[in-house]
Structure formats: structure tokens, C-alpha cells
Symmetry: C2
Subunit: 247 residues, 2 copies
DNA sequence: CCGAAGAGTGCACTGAGTGCCATGCGGGAC
DNA sequence: GTCCCGCATGGCACTCAGTGCACTCTTCGG
């Protein structure tokens, strides 16, 4: 780490500096150096040699910490994915699986919201650089597969369980990303969680077992259940019962 | 093109061999050579030099036809994406946008179904090779963005138009891929379109404007259950509007 | 016959990523 | 203390994808 860029990323490491296992000062130094260069000359105009030269470490060490040049742009997703997996495993018999995956998605939002300036900078980078966009897709894909795997387990007994699991996981990810990106586009202004809540409520209303517990404080007076044409009667009854809070 | 592998890919070019513009024998030769080598030694164990040596052309020519080594694995997606874009543009004022994007997704299925053996071989490749999986994600992402862009235009007047567009596009792609992959996993046995129809029907039933004109007889009635616990009428109407996704 | 355009080729170069080995450093065993 | 072991790092050489450039050869129009 050299100078100015360091301040931006202060809270990015998994541990608070100096506490816990206190693993890698070097890893953070590489991320800081990389972002400094990416922001001033662009991603593709920056070589790995440039980064390690600025960080003052050997080239070989870069690839020790990051399997590829792209990985340095997403230094915390590996941990977040582990968190999500653990969160889902902890809810293996949650009563409302769809709500559970929505909450899991909120973990990702929380990670972004922890470092708004860093997240916004990274967002601008990934928007411009096709290679990073592709890499981000593979990251998002792993989140989606984690959600889908959880839902597949929960829906194992349903008729089209895997289909529903895949579709709902994709919808949750899409809703989350829609809200996240609009928050990022606004430079991290405002409350990100509100937009995500709204987006996820839409998904829950489309698939949800508990259609829409609307605000958060007290149950609204009005409850509307819209059942699609052609839905089997038992499903409609189930919706009504769930909505009214009966067993 | 050298020998045995050619037969597998006979119908893959855009034109029927010899008719139409009859553009590129070389392009097809490269694809055939590449797949022959990929299948016998694996993707990563095959260098571009190996491919061009087998095809009997210069190395530089490979990169004239395919911007990257990965592109040779998906030689027809560019055309299919163009077809989809055109199909959506032609339905700019279709009465049922969700049905339209479902039909657009079926175009992709049709492309896969045109060459079952090729599709199955490619599927096995992309499953094993992480790099190809990542590349496929970026391809799928472009389809999804095309669908979402269409829906965004159609939903411009709705309140959460872009959110709904993104979520529905993601759901359609997920449903399509779920059915497609299960078909590919079964070595292309059976009728792919039936599984996709079923998967897309699920999405339409969750989001659909004309949810599911079920068997063939007459459309079911919409069931709307309103439970009001002392709410003013205007509030009920508001909820109904919101639930139905009207502006 | 000539000149322009385009398809194909060869060559040299950059830069990402890997394997291998040397070096330096701490800590524990003797 | 010394020796040894493990570990983090650095250096080097190599492979291979991808690019820019210049050259050839063919084709086609005048």
C-alpha cells in the first residue's frame, strides 16, 4: 500500500485491521494498488506488473492471493458466498423457504452497503469493462446456484420442485440486482435496503407462500389475494389461509 | 475439414451447404476441427495452434472468424440472438408481452434442437470446463437482456415496470434453461419442446397477463379474494391496482 | 494490363497465468 | 546456541491467448 487510495478501502478486509486472525496486509495492499490504477488508467490499461510494482511486492505473490486479475476486483465475494451458504444451511427447515432466500439475498446487499464508495467505484468499472461484466456474471451465478440448491432441497417433495426452485432463485437474484444497481447508479445515495425490500416483496407476491406482509410494523387492513386463472382450488384455499394467518 | 468429425456438424452453418450466399467453408472447418480435438483431448488441452494445424489453415485466420477460443464453441448464438431481437422487435405491440418473451425463448430451444448431437456434446463440454461455463453465462445474459429490454419497453407505463421486466426475463430464462438442460442431460431423447412448454407455462402462471388458457376450452375466471378488515374503499382499490401491476 | 480490395498468412510482440526452485524468516526440538 | 522444518515470498522461465502489421495472392472492374 502506498498512499492516497488506501483510505477508500479501509473497512474492506474480513477482519478489522489488527484483530482476529489478522491475516493479510498484503492482500489489502494489492487491492488498494489495483483499484488506484484501475481508476486512473482503466482496467485493461493496467497490467499485473503495474499493480505489483505499485504495491511493492513480487509478481508471483499477486497470483498467490488472486487466481486471476479479475478476482482482485471482487475480493470479498468469496466470503459472502460462504456466509450465504451457511445462512441457508441454518434455515434447512424454515417455514417459508422463499422468504429465506430473500433474506439470503439481503446478505449480499449488506456487503455492498458496507462500503458504498468502494461498491460504486467497482460498479462503474464493471459497467465499462466487458471482461469484468462477464466475471461478475459468474459470481452472481454462484449465488443463484446456492439459492436454487436450497430451494431444491426444500421443494424436493413438490411436483415441479427443481423447476420452481430454479425459477424462484433466478427471480430473487434479478429483483435484488435490479434494486442494487439502481442504488449503485445513484452513487449509493438513499437507503438501499428499502429498494431491495420492495423488489423482493414483488417476487414474494408472485411466488410467495406468505404473499405480502406489507409494511413491517402492523399487518395492513387490506389483504388482496389474486389467484391466477386455472389455479387449482386447493392452491387458492391455501393462499387464503396463509394470508389470513390461519394454520 | 479433414474427415470423420465433419458429419456431426453438417447442418450447423447458417446456410444449407452450397445454397444462399455460401459464405464460409473455412469457418465450419475450424469448428469441426476444434470439436474433434476438444472431444478427444479436452478443451484446455487443445491449443489454437492444434486446431488450425488440423484444419490446415493459418493461426491468424482462426482469430479472424472467432474473436476468442471460446467463441468457436458457440458458433451459432450470434445469429440466434439476432433472430430473437428481430422477433421481439416484430412484436412491439403484442397484446401479451409475457407470452411473447416465452415464444422468443423457444427460438433458442429450436436452435439447440436443430442439432441434438452437437448440442449434447457441447453441453458436456461446458459442464466440465469452468471457462466455458463462464462464457456461456455471458451468452445467456445477452438473451436475458434482450428479453428484459423488450419487457421494459412494454411495461414502461407500469409502476415497477423495469423491476417486473427484469424479474420476468430472468424467470423465463431460468425456466427455459431448466427444461433445456434436463433435455440435454438425457442425451437429447424425447421431445424438448414439451418440457419447455411446461416450464414456461409455470412462469406464465406466476406472472402471466393471460395466465394460462388452460386446456383449450374456455379461459377460467380470475379469482380475486379481498379480505377487508375495516379498511376504507379507496385503500382496497389501491391495493388491487398495485397487486394487478397496473400503473 | 493494371490497380484496388479483400481474404488469408507469417511474424513478432504483449500480457496473463503456471511450475519450479531459491531465499529468508520464525519457531520448536535438541 | 544450532539445526531443522514449515511457510511466505520472490525470481525466472515457460506456455499460450490474442493483436498489430506487413506481405502475398486472388478477384474483379476499368
Amino acid at each position: 500500500m502506498r498512499d492516497s487510495a488506501g483510505a477508500t478501502f479501509q473497512a474492506m478486509s474480513s477482519e478489522k485491521a489488527g484483530a482476529g486472525t489478522g491475516k493479510p496486509p498484503m492482500r489489502d495492499a494489492l487491492v488498494a494498488a489495483a483499484f488506484q490504477l484501475f481508476l486512473e488508467r482503466g482496467y485493461e490499461q493496467t497490467t499485473v506488473d503495474d499493480i505489483v510494482a505499485l504495491a511493492g511486492v513480487g509478481r508471483r505473490s499477486f497470483f498467490r492471493y488472486f487466481p486471476s486479475k479479475e478476482d482482485v476486483v471482487f475480493p470479498d465475494h468469496e466470503r459472502c458466498l460462504a456466509d450465504m451458504t451457511a445462512f441457508l444451511a441454518a434455515g434447512a427447515d424454515d417455514a417459508e423457504p422463499v422468504r429465506r432466500v430473500c433474506d439470503a439475498a439481503r446478505l449480499v446487499l449488506r456487503m455492498y452497503a458496507e462500503n458504498p464508495t468502494f461498491s460504486v467505484q467497482r460498479y462503474r468499472l464493471t459497467r465499462k469493462v466487458p471482461g469484468l461484466r462477464a466475471y461478475e456474471l459468474s459470481v452472481v451465478w454462484r449465488y443463484e446456484r446456492a439459492l436454487a440448491a436450497y430451494l431444491r432441497r426444500r421443494f424436493a417433495a413438490r411436483r415441479d420442485g427443481t423447476l420452481q426452485a430454479d425459477v424462484i432463485a433466478a427471480a430473487v437474484v434479478a429483483a435484488h440486482n435490479n434494486a442494487l444497481r439502481s442504488w449503485l447508479r445513484s452513487d449509493g445515495q438513499g437507503e438501499a435496503s428499502a429498494a431491495v425490500d420492495h423488489a423482493l416483496a414483488y417476487v414474494q407476491s408472485a411466488f410467495g407462500e406468505a404473499p405480502v406482509p406489507p409494511a413491517g410494523e402492523r399487518p395492513e387492513d387490506v389483504v388482496v389475494v389474486v389467484s391466477r386463472r386455472g389455479a387449482p382450488l386447493w392452491r387458492v384455499v391455501q393462499e387464503i389461509e396463509a394470508t389470513l394467518g390461519r394454520s
